[in-house]
């Protein structure tokens, strides 16, 4: 055991050395070195090169980590005031946690951010605004929300397959579940209406006027009738056998696409590429996209923040503002498919007229921008991410038959009040 402990110790020592070597500073050639910390694919490779060529005094290094590693490391780096990059990306799922400690970041409102405010969707701007009015990040993309569905499966079950007709099937989530029950009567064995309870519940909760918190950061989900009604609706759907009982973003969920285990899935813009990868070329044209029940919605999207611990915060702010500017967001939409958070671009024909051939030429530019425009912003408290995990677990307990809806709800409410 001892050699292992030693090896781990050396590895962490090496990491520490590398990290301290990663800090920003001024290079010998008089260039300002900037680092940018990202996760997944932001589509920034070309943009960073372009920035370097127009700003010869700046040299940029980017580090990309996995989604959860990136945010965990960022929290640790901020707490210790060392090791954070000059510009750090933060996802919607973590922005509430980080904006609870706004003093770790540069207040962009003091760096000219208040004048850029009108660029973004109002709820996107507010999403990264701290309680005391400090702006910790510039918005990059938004997810929007739609429903992706299998044309062939709906048709075989006697439901319409055409986009507009399908949307007419489900103006509300109650209608969505009713359509599901009709579908299930004629569905082949092993094929269910939706992928999993937690995913659907998440979309409905996102549309509620009040979510897990009230505006004073008190957890109110236990008394929130709207959320409880959503819970009961999904529990009923699960118990009526509409759920494939697959947990979002797990290997079995990926397999579910390949095997065609479910007919619908709630779908943000960035998920399109995922579906295409998982379902593969043989499912081309089988998938289609239509609007989400209950109006608008959003799932995901990110921000660029500037930690205060950086040595060149002014140049870092400049870079973050440039990367999130309308011209750059339009380029990212074309190269990586990420939906801009800039409403002005939603009139841009290259975005609004964009059709995805894999999804039966669905006008995804229009669908997702409509959803993003219609979204009623919901106040998110600091631990919204933890509560989302807990309610997902609670729904899974019902799916697995471990508890009935009422018991599981009670356990969930007790869990989050701890």
């Amino acid at each position: 055991m001892r050699p292992t402990a030693l090896a781990i110790g050396c590895a962490s020592l090496a990491t520490a050395l590398v990290l301290s070597g990663c800090g920003s500073g001024t290079a010998s050639g008089g260039k300002t070195k900037l680092s940018i910390g990202l996760f997944g694919n932001f589509g920034y490779a070309e943009l960073l090169k372009e920035y370097e060529s127009t700003h010869p005094d700046v040299e940029i290094t980017d580090r990309t980590a996995s989604y959860s590693d990136h945010h965990k490391n960022l929290a640790a780096h901020l707490a210790t005031n060392s090791g954070a990059a000059d510009v750090e990306a933060v996802d919607t799922g973590y922005i509430n946690q980080f904006k609870a400690t706004p003093d770790k970041f540069v207040d962009l409102n003091t760096k000219g951010g208040d004048q850029l405010k009108d660029r973004w969707l109002p709820w996107k701007w507010e999403g990264s605004l701290s309680k005391d009015g400090k702006q910790i990040g510039y918005g990059t993309d938004v997810g929007g929300l739609a429903i992706c569905y299998r044309r062939d499966l709906l048709q075989n079950a006697g439901l319409p397959a055409d986009r507009e007709q399908v949307a007419a099937l489900w103006p509300t989530w109650q209608d969505f579940m009713a359509a599901g029950k009709k579908f299930q009567e004629k569905a082949p064995e092993g094929v269910k209406w939706f992928d999993g309870g937690p995913t659907v519940l998440n979309a409905i909760v996102g549309q509620a006027s009040v979510g897990y918190y009230d505006k004073s950061d008190k957890i109110v989900v236990g008394e929130n009738k709207e959320i409880k009604a959503a819970w009961d609706l999904v529990v009923d759907g699960v118990q009526s056998g509409l759920s494939s009982k697959l947990l979002f973003s797990t290997p079995v969920w990926n397999t579910g696409f390949k095997q065609g285990q479910f007919a619908t899935v709630t779908c943000p813009a960035w998920q399109m590429a995922k579906i295409k990868d998982q379902a593969g070329p043989e499912a081309a044209g089988k998938w289609d996209v239509t609007s989400v029940p209950g109006g608008g919605g959003n799932w995901g999207g990110s921000y660029l923040t500037v930690p205060k611990s950086g040595k060149n915060v002014d140049k870092a702010v400049e870079l973050a503002a440039w990367l999130t500017a309308p011209e750059q967001q339009a380029k990212v939409f074309k190269s990586a498919g990420l939906l801009p958070s800039i409403p002005k671009l939603y009139e841009d024909p290259s975005i609004v007229d964009y059709k995805n051939p894999y999804f039966n030429d669905a006008p995804i530019g229009k669908l997702f921008t409509d959803a993003a425009k219609k979204l009623n912003p919901q106040y998110q408290g600091p631990k919204a991410g933890d509560i989302q995990t807990a309610i997902g677990n609670a729904m899974q307990r019902v799916e697995q038959g471990k508890q009935n809806g009422e018991d599981s709800w009670r356990q969930f409410v007790a869990d989050v009040q701890k």
Binding site: G9, L247, V252, P382, T389, N393, R397, Q400
Partner: protein, 311 residues
Amino acid sequence: MALIDPPVVDRAARRHRWDTKFSPYAYVTPYFLIFGVFGLFPLLYTIWVSLQHRNLLDEGGARLVWFDNYAALLADPYFWNAMGNTLSLWLLTTVPQILFALGIAALLNRKVRTRTLFRMGVILPNITSVAAVTIIFAQLFGRDFGLVNWVLDLFGAGQIDWQAGTATSHIAIAVMVVWRWTGYHALIFLASMQAITPSLYEAATLDGANGWQQFWRITVPLLRPQIIFTTIIATTGNMRLLAEPLLFNPGAAAATGGSDRQFQTAALYLYEQGFTKYDFGYSSAIAVVLAIATIIVAGLGYLVTKRIQTE
């Protein structure tokens, strides 16, 4: 000729004396320095952190709360749930590991063709990455398209949702651990078996003892020191299972070890508190209690295996 300079002799002698006196300490210093930096310091620092309220997300920073974390821990039903799962998994992994390893070692100790190949083969699971093993096994134990369920279905046993149940999830995780570590223990047993003098078996054969009797009355008792050793090594490993339960249920809720924490081990609970809630004070308290529990369980394992006796 009195050319020898007495002070020089003196100095040389002194240097020799110092050399024999102090150089052994110099030789062992690197070990103690490294142990101090990477072993002792983290241990003491963990105890220190466990006495503090220390959450990375709190603006206020850390403050000393003495035993508040421990008091909260002892009243925390999720902690006791995790300790229960830890003990259950310890039992389900350690006992089969030792028994299978003894059996495999006994088989490999025979004169079989290409036995070096077999002996090398049993260690292969141990050198594969734990993450890769877990991801593959999670697929094998999949609900809808898992190989295990497919085989069970052939025998009419139906489909099992391995992750959903407490017992089923523990069995699935135990299989991964046993598969990975049995070969390692088998090689330790094999090395000792080869050192047992053949005359003992010859004498036993003359007395009319069959193979089974020889195994239990000669081989196992003579392997007692190795069985004690492997039990303690396996206990320290199996009481801290983290990667297997974490990766068995990937996704956003991985750290809770199942929808109802049905396979959340103490180490995974520590991870959840420390690395998803950033509560390092509480997390360190779990680490300290888990370390104490591990010592107690290893002691129990020692007491049980010590009773193996030659008759």
